[in-house]
């Protein structure tokens, strides 16, 4: 069964304090791993897609990396506006295209 586990559940950082969020997954043939950002009361906002181990993608203060068992979302020098819930999802080749989501990491960045 495809499964995604995210840790920690919640993370509090001071502005400028870099850290990483973890996404561990099991899937029968990875088609893609996706990171989303979700603000309260809104739908998830697409951030990155990673397809194969060793791949990295960056956007502003965010960098996503992928291994065969997990993905990390590195946040460098975060700002208060980076506060949100970050969701990780996988899509397997055996699926019809639907995503399997983790429960998310709620990030709070204090000024």
């Amino acid at each position: 069964e495809d499964q995604v586990t995210q840790s920690p559940e919640a993370l509090r950082l001071q502005e400028g304090e870099s850290s990483s969020l973890n996404c561990s997954y099991t899937v029968s043939g990875l088609r893609g791993l996706f990171w989303y950002r979700q603000d309260p009361g809104k739908g998830p906002e697409f951030l990155f897609t990673l397809y194969s181990a060793g791949e990295e993608k960056e956007k502003e203060r965010l960098k996503a990396t992928l291994t065969k068992k997990e993905s990390f979302l590195h946040i460098t020098a975060p700002k208060p506006e980076d506060s949100a819930t970050y969701l990780c999802a996988v899509q397997g080749w055996g699926s019809q295209g639907n995503l399997i989501f983790g429960k998310g990491t709620k990030l709070s960045v204090k000024p």
């Binding site: 995604v4 739908g43 998830p44 697409f46 897609t49 999802a89 989501f101 983790g102 429960k103 998310g104």
Partner: protein, 112 residues
């Protein structure tokens, strides 16, 4: 360009009533998905439409849930005889190539 839109944004209904939730995908996107997000739970897949193919209904939790997609565009999710456990945010997403999915703002359903 316009993103995925959903209506209504909020719906309060009494237990036992039927509700319809609407999704307008991004123009040109052939794939459309419905997910449910309950408090403290991750997003849960419900149903998937791809072009003119038969939908993948494997995520629907009971036969009270159904969905249709007319003309390959707008989709309606119908929940019959609503129960309190149906209270959740219902999210719609669309995709051009079944990879990156773009989500709407969701419909918050409250069953009293």
């Amino acid at each position: 360009g316009a993103g995925v839109s959903q209506s209504p944004s909020n719906k309060v209904t009494e237990k036992g009533k039927d509700v319809e939730l609407r999704c307008d995908p991004i123009s040109g996107h052939t794939a459309l998905y419905w997910y449910r997000q309950s408090l403290g739970q991750g997003l849960e897949f419900l149903i998937y439409f791809q072009g003119n193919s038969a939908p993948d209904k494997s995520g629907l939790p009971s036969d009270r849930f159904s969905a249709e997609r007319t003309g390959g565009s707008v989709s309606t999710l119908t929940i019959q005889r609503t129960q309190q456990e149906d209270s959740a945010v219902y999210l719609c997403a669309s995709s051009l190539d079944s990879y990156e999915q773009y989500f709407g703002p969701g419909t918050r359903l409250t069953v009293t």
